[in-house]
């Protein structure tokens, strides 16, 4: 399954948007955190997990989804949220903890919920699969259109929740796709030190579902694998497991010294940065030239900048609003 030209440009635009968002967050996050790094300081306090390098996973999957489809993302959710079409203003305002954020700042960057596009997150490793399976069950029982996609990291494939949810989804033949973003590191522990198999897609065979591997952070490889899996799900043929070899170009979280990485690894990954690679591929395919690229990148940046301005200009809720919305 190949993307058409519109889909190619859409994926590139989403990747550029997401990357710019992460780069801007990186700068804003460090405000107030120098010279001494204190996580509680600055306009964006708390943990921050950036998705630089993992954009192909998000865009290759979400290119096949519409607002009605359900996505459950991880503690590293921004690229997926951008590709799923969440409201950027409300998302960035949420990251800033402002009143105009999705929850008025009660959730934060690991807990982004945009029900208008059926997007949610869980900050707990492995806890995206159950809710996605349940949303898929809901669609099946209601006869409503739409599939569900759970994103997870390769480390989550060692959680019980992973194995339970794959089994449940297969037993009930649910319209769900499980997408592993294998960035090779569970914080500081390498995949091969934590996982008994070199590739998690082989684990699908234990649950009687197809397992697909996408190598080298390949945008169109993700598109093809996800397209087939989502078509199977829509067609009532049940779940699929996909593992994507991707790269985490930032630390696990901001402030992570990344001393655990072998020397030269990060430089190597940066040379394989998927965004310049895809830009080059689109130029070679004649879909993009320098002028068009500049225009596209400029538009993407302006979208992010406008959302950041919106967030910065927004107020905080009064602190006692913390007491609200525990229940509906």
């Amino acid at each position: 399954m190949q993307p058409n030209n519109d889909q190619r440009l859409w994926m590139y635009r989403q990747m550029v948007t997401s990357r710019h968002l992460e780069e801007r967050i990186e700068t804003l996050y460090m405000e107030g955190k120098t010279p001494a790094f204190n996580m509680a300081k600055g306009p964006i306090p708390g943990e921050m997990h950036l998705s630089n390098g993992q954009e192909p996973c998000a865009v290759g999957v979400c290119a096949h989804l519409s607002a009605e489809d359900v996505v459950v993302a991880t503690h590293r959710p921004h690229h997926i949220a951008v590709a799923k079409g969440v409201d950027l203003n409300a998302m960035i305002a949420e990251i800033f903890g402002k009143a105009t954020g999705f929850s008025g700042g009660r959730g934060g960057h690991m807990h982004i919920f945009d029900p208008t596009v059926n997007f949610s997150c869980s900050g707990i490793v492995g806890e995206t699969l159950g809710p996605a399976a349940g949303a898929a069950l809901s669609r099946k029982m209601q006869g409503k259109p739409g599939v569900a996609v759970a994103f997870l990291g390769e480390g989550a494939a060692n959680q019980g929740a992973f194995h339970e949810a794959l089994n449940l989804a297969a037993v009930w033949k649910l319209p769900v796709v499980f997408v592993i973003e294998d960035n090779a590191w569970g914080i500081s522990v390498a995949k091969q030190a934590a996982t008994a198999v070199p590739r998690n897609d082989v684990r699908a065979s234990g649950y009687n579902m197809p397992g697909v591997h996408v190598a080298d952070n390949d945008v169109e490889g993700v598109f093809a694998a996800a397209g087939e899996a989502i078509a199977r799900a829509r067609d009532g043929q049940g779940p699929t497991l996909i593992e994507i070899e991707t790269s985490r170009l930032a630390g696990h979280f901001m402030g992570d010294g990344e001393d655990y990485r072998p020397e030269g690894e990060k430089e190597g990954l940066q040379q394989r940065d998927p965004i310049p690679r895809y830009r080059q591929a689109l130029i070679e395919a004649g879909l993009l030239d320098e002028a068009a690229d500049t225009r596209l990148v400029g538009e993407a940046h302006e979208r992010v900048e406008a959302a950041i301005r919106f967030a910065q200009e927004s107020d905080f809720l009064p602190p006692e609003a913390a007491l609200e919305t525990v229940f509906v």
């Binding site: 929850s103 809710p131 399976a133 349940g134 949303a135 069950l137 949810a165 525990v326 229940f327 509906v328």
Partner: protein, 343 residues
């Protein structure tokens, strides 16, 4: 909304039957309601509370699950956020250790994380309690554990009338509700059965408001506060104390979240004496919360230091001599009152 028992409804039900009837009535009128859990299908639930549902509604809406609580309770969260109203069973509350993340980090928090835009209208029903030598991983109550964590309502019925009304209310609630039923109240003969739990229960649908305690016996001299099976211990103790000339009031909490502090305070304001009876562990639990709710509100209303009759802070022992020794009962409540009066 809240019905009262009518003369026409002298039919008695067990809690198990009452739960199943409430569920069936809601399933008939709301296609989004469905049940899933271990052995809830043709078997009708290990504790009888889904009996008859599979025959009426079939395997699509009354689903036996794999023994995978993390997956199917997580799935209930996802389904509840997508327009369904799942009733999901955690067979024994003791099993929460294998699935608590789905419960307290997602079911209970997604509404808050979404600023109230994502509802999680699900019922988590789970059995509690010991007394039949099932050992320390199948006998706990854990009321305080669940009630401590914000974002989920918690109800604990002591009789079939309340069980039916609370179940109907729980299913209709747009928030997650943990429905904790005590095994010895279920009316399953093999578990030993508290006869007082099997009471007149109307056939028609009705709700019991979540968050409202009930004064099940009025009195002047002492307030006994409890929940679930403890209410029956209290009623027996009140009877025994009555023979001694003391008039005990018995408050059945029925809900832990929200907690009806007002009813408890009003009762203690009247009697001046408080004993809390709880089959859950003694420390950091319901009994301490009830006493604090009174003490921080009006210490002066107390004529004596409050007491609690609760489960000792030990894992639940298997052998009957030890387990029965550790459990709250009416004699212990009477003793606690005597000690209170002798000080």
């Amino acid at each position: 909304m809240t019905a009262t028992t009518t003369a026409s409804s002298s039919r008695k039900l067990t809690i198990a039957r009452a739960m199943a009837e409430a569920t069936a009535q809601e399933m008939r009128q709301d296609p989004s309601v469905f049940v899933m859990g271990e052995d809830v299908g043709p078997m009708g639930g290990v504790f009888g509370n889904t009996r008859g549902l599979h025959e009426e509604f079939g395997g699509e809406r009354v689903r036996d699950t794999p023994i995978s609580e993390t997956a199917f309770i997580g799935a209930a969260v996802g389904a509840a956020s997508d327009g369904m109203r799942p009733i999901v069973e955690l067979m024994f509350v003791d099993f929460f250790g294998v699935c608590m993340d789905a419960i307290y980090n997602m079911m209970a928090k997604n509404t808050y994380f979404s600023g109230g835009t994502v509802n999680v209208p699900m019922v988590l029903m789970t059995s509690t309690g010991g007394g039949y030598s099932d050992g320390g991983q199948h006998s706990q109550c854990l009321y305080g554990t669940f009630a401590h964590l914000p974002g989920m309502k918690v109800v604990v019925p002591s009789n079939a009338y309340d069980a039916k009304g609370l179940m109907t209310a729980a299913i209709r609630d747009d928030n997650p509700v943990v429905f904790m039923y005590h095994k010895s109240l279920q009316g399953m003969g093999w578990l030993g059965t508290e006869k007082g739990a099997t009471v007149a229960t109307p056939e028609e649908s009705y709700t019991v408001e979540i968050g409202k305690a009930a004064v099940v016996k009025e009195g002047r001299d002492l307030t006994l506060v409890s929940l679930g099976v403890g209410v029956h211990h209290c009623l027996r103790a009140a009877k025994a104390l009555g023979e001694e000339g003391f008039d005990a009031e018995v408050v059945d909490l029925r809900s832990l979240v929200p907690l009806d502090r007002e009813t408890v305070r009003a009762s203690v304001a009247k009697t001046g004496r408080l004993i809390v009876v709880d089959e859950d562990y003694h420390s950091y639990g319901v009994s301490g919360e009830i006493i604090a709710s009174v003490a921080e509100h009006d210490l002066a209303c107390l004529k004596a230091a409050p007491r609690r009759v609760a489960y000792p802070d030990i894992p639940i022992p298997f052998t009957p001599t030890m387990e029965q020794w550790a459990l709250p009962n009416a004699d212990k409540i009477v003793d606690a009152f005597h000690q209170m009066m002798s000080q």
